[in-house]
């Protein structure tokens, strides 16, 4: 150890360089994602080329004076594919962001957006809406309401005398999830065949019915969540040190933990209610991002949002264009996600997790 050595060499130049590199990397990833999204808009059962896409985008600009775009292209690309692409990217980044926040809040690398019962609650809400359409105005609304209800239940079960310990919350989430899953099973048991099929499909997740309405809600929500979490990234870092240390470093967990969990839960419940239960993304994206960008949440938050969006875009594009009919996206995310995470774990996990 050497003491009393003032920092003589300007080592900080090194770190500024590093920051710049990261910035360039994120910008490049962002541009790649936009290009991938444009590419995805050409793919599908109905084949279109780059010319059609460019002309279509041109026609949406004011003062467009070129040839008229065929109605079929307008419907397929502009009304179906583009909102679906935006929606899948938004959903991917919301799951990834929620997973990142949950992992920091619970100090648990296994935490993911569904851990507090969002998915089980939403599944029950959706199943209720499907089996009793007369009682529930919309499947989506009831899925959202029950997703929030499940999390509130977990939270209140875990709270004792004004404090909510993370471990208790995880256990309460497991309990609430299993109760709601049992309720879903009983609904499936009594449901007629057609509705049983519908419940099963809903639970496998997908963006079949995506329209501009959903995209216009979820895309801004994903951006907002990403910006808010990036802004409070250092608070998240400190929160992951544990409650007592966080307090001594000036971050009150009694405020910040409910804030992060609340925001993540609201956004993922809202997403699940529109997309159904899509597994893996919320667990995989934060881990992949941690292995690629490091643990600091100011890198991890944007990194995992970008990865989540890219991964979901890839999976959804495969799901809708691989075969003549749709493959439920949950199947694709699991099959593609597992080998990817295993690859990262084997190649980079040693540095990150030992």
């Amino acid at each position: 150890m050497t003491f009393r050595t003032a920092p003589e060499k300007p080592v900080n130049v090194n770190y500024l360089n590093k920051k710049l590199k990261r910035l360039v990397l994120f910008a490049a990833l962002g541009i790649l994602l936009v290009l991938a999204a444009l590419f995805a808009s050409m793919l599908g059962t109905y084949k279109t080329g780059p010319k059609e896409i460019i002309r279509l985008f041109g026609s949406k600009l004011p003062f467009y004076s070129g040839p008229e775009v065929p109605r079929l292209h307008d419907v397929i690309i502009w009304k179906l594919r583009i909102p679906r692409i935006l929606l899948s990217m938004a959903a991917g980044s919301i799951f990834a962001l929620s997973g990142t926040a949950y992992q920091a809040c619970f100090r648990n690398p296994l935490a993911e957006p569904y851990i507090l019962g969002v998915s089980a609650g939403a599944a029950f809400g959706a199943a209720l809406g499907i089996v009793y359409p007369a009682l529930f105005v919309s499947v989506r609304l009831s899925a959202f309401a029950f997703a929030l209800l499940a999390v509130l239940l977990s939270w209140s079960l875990a709270s004792t005398r004004g404090s909510t310990p993370g471990a208790a919350l995880v256990i309460a989430g497991v309990v609430v999830s299993s109760v709601f899953s049992a309720l879903v099973s009983s609904l499936k048991y009594i449901a007629p065949d057609a509705q049983l099929r519908e419940i099963t499909f809903w639970m496998m997740g997908g963006f079949y019915y995506a329209g501009w309405q959903d995209a216009a809600l979820l895309f801004p929500l994903a951006l907002l969540l990403g910006i808010v979490f990036s802004f409070f990234a250092w608070k998240m870092n400190i929160l992951s040190m544990g409650d007592e240390e966080a307090r001594s470093l000036g971050v009150d967990p009694r405020f910040y933990r409910p804030f992060f969990i609340g925001a993540a839960t609201f956004a993922s419940a809202f997403t699940v209610s529109s997309s159904g239960i899509i597994p893996w993304v919320g667990l995989m994206a934060p881990h992949a991002a941690r292995m690629l960008f490091g643990s600091d949440n100011s890198q991890l938050v944007p990194g995992s949002a970008l990865l989540g969006a890219a991964f979901m875009l890839l999976c959804d594009t495969l799901a809708r264009s691989l075969t003549g009919s749709e493959i439920p996206i949950g199947i694709v995310t699991s099959i593609l996600g597992a080998p990817f995470l295993i690859y990262l774990l084997r190649s980079r996990g040693r540095a990150a997790y030992q």
Binding site: A6, G250, S295
Partner: protein, 258 residues
């Protein structure tokens, strides 16, 4: 005037009292050693000062302000704390860990001044070479140094160290106390808890001795940590002697006892 004064502080975790009415004051710029057998209430005392626990009765005043009235950011500008055991959840780099000491004062991210301050703290402890290493992969001693660098970067008037030398080898322990001494000479008030009476005798200005939640003694180390006090704390198992100019506490039975 005392920078920190503790007034009749009482606390219990339910069963018999952990702290049964403790009062003392700390003067600015001194290095205090907190001493006492396991379960004496040392860590509880830290937690009460940091506002992690609420006292059942009594108060902790910082320059006349009751600290229970302060919120977390305000407390973090007064106290920094080196916790006793620390389980790292995610592989943050050492640089990031040290920067966390200042995260209460920067907004959304560290500025150049914060990076420089973190660097200065790491340089001073001789760990700037580890800056980009994940601190989960460090040895226990290096991790301890990283946490001390974090407390130094936090730059508060009062520093609490809960067994700072616990994971260090002997040379590093001694050098750590040297640093604490230096910091106190620069005006910091340090309360460090230790289990080795020698380290108190060699480095601390004053000793604060707790036993079973009661304050046994407080004063200059050579007065407070007397032979009578050692007997009172540990039975007659230790003898206070001298090695040259250094006071030394050694087993009363001598070096070999079979």
């Amino acid at each position: 005037m005392d920078i920190l004064s503790i007034d009749n502080l009482k606390f219990s975790y339910g069963k018999p009292g952990v702290l049964g009415g403790i009062s003392f004051g700390l003067e600015a710029g001194k290095l205090y050693g907190l001493f006492g057998p396991n379960g004496a209430g040392k860590t509880t005392l830290f937690r009460l000062c940091l506002g992690i626990l609420k006292p059942h009765s009594g108060n902790v005043f910082y320059k006349g302000t009751d600290v229970t009235r302060l919120n977390a950011p305000a407390l973090a500008r007064i106290f920094s704390w080196l916790p006793q055991d620390h389980k790292p959840p995610f592989p943050f780099t050492v640089r990031e860990l040290v920067l966390m000491g200042m995260a209460g004062s920067f907004g959304y991210g560290p500025k150049v001044e914060h990076e420089l301050k973190a660097l200065a703290a790491m340089e001073r402890l001789g760990i700037s070479g580890l800056a980009e290493r994940p601190y989960t992969k460090l040895s226990g001693g290096q991790r301890q140094l990283a946490l001390i660098a974090r407390a130094m970067a936090q730059d508060t008037p009062l520093l609490f160290f809960d067994e700072p030398g616990a994971a260090l080898d002997y040379k590093n322990q001694v050098q750590l106390w040297q640093i604490l001494k230096e910091l106190s000479r620069e005006g910091k008030t340090i309360l460090a808890c230790a289990h080795d009476p020698n380290q108190l005798l060699w480095y601390c200005d004053e000793a604060i001795i707790l036993k079973e939640g009661k304050l046994e003694a407080k004063g200059p180390v050579n007065k407070a940590l007397s032979q009578e006090m050692l007997d009172k704390l540990y039975g007659k198992s230790f003898r206070l002697g001298h090695a040259g100019a250094c006071p030394v506490v050694c087993p009363a039975s001598g070096p070999v006892s079979l």
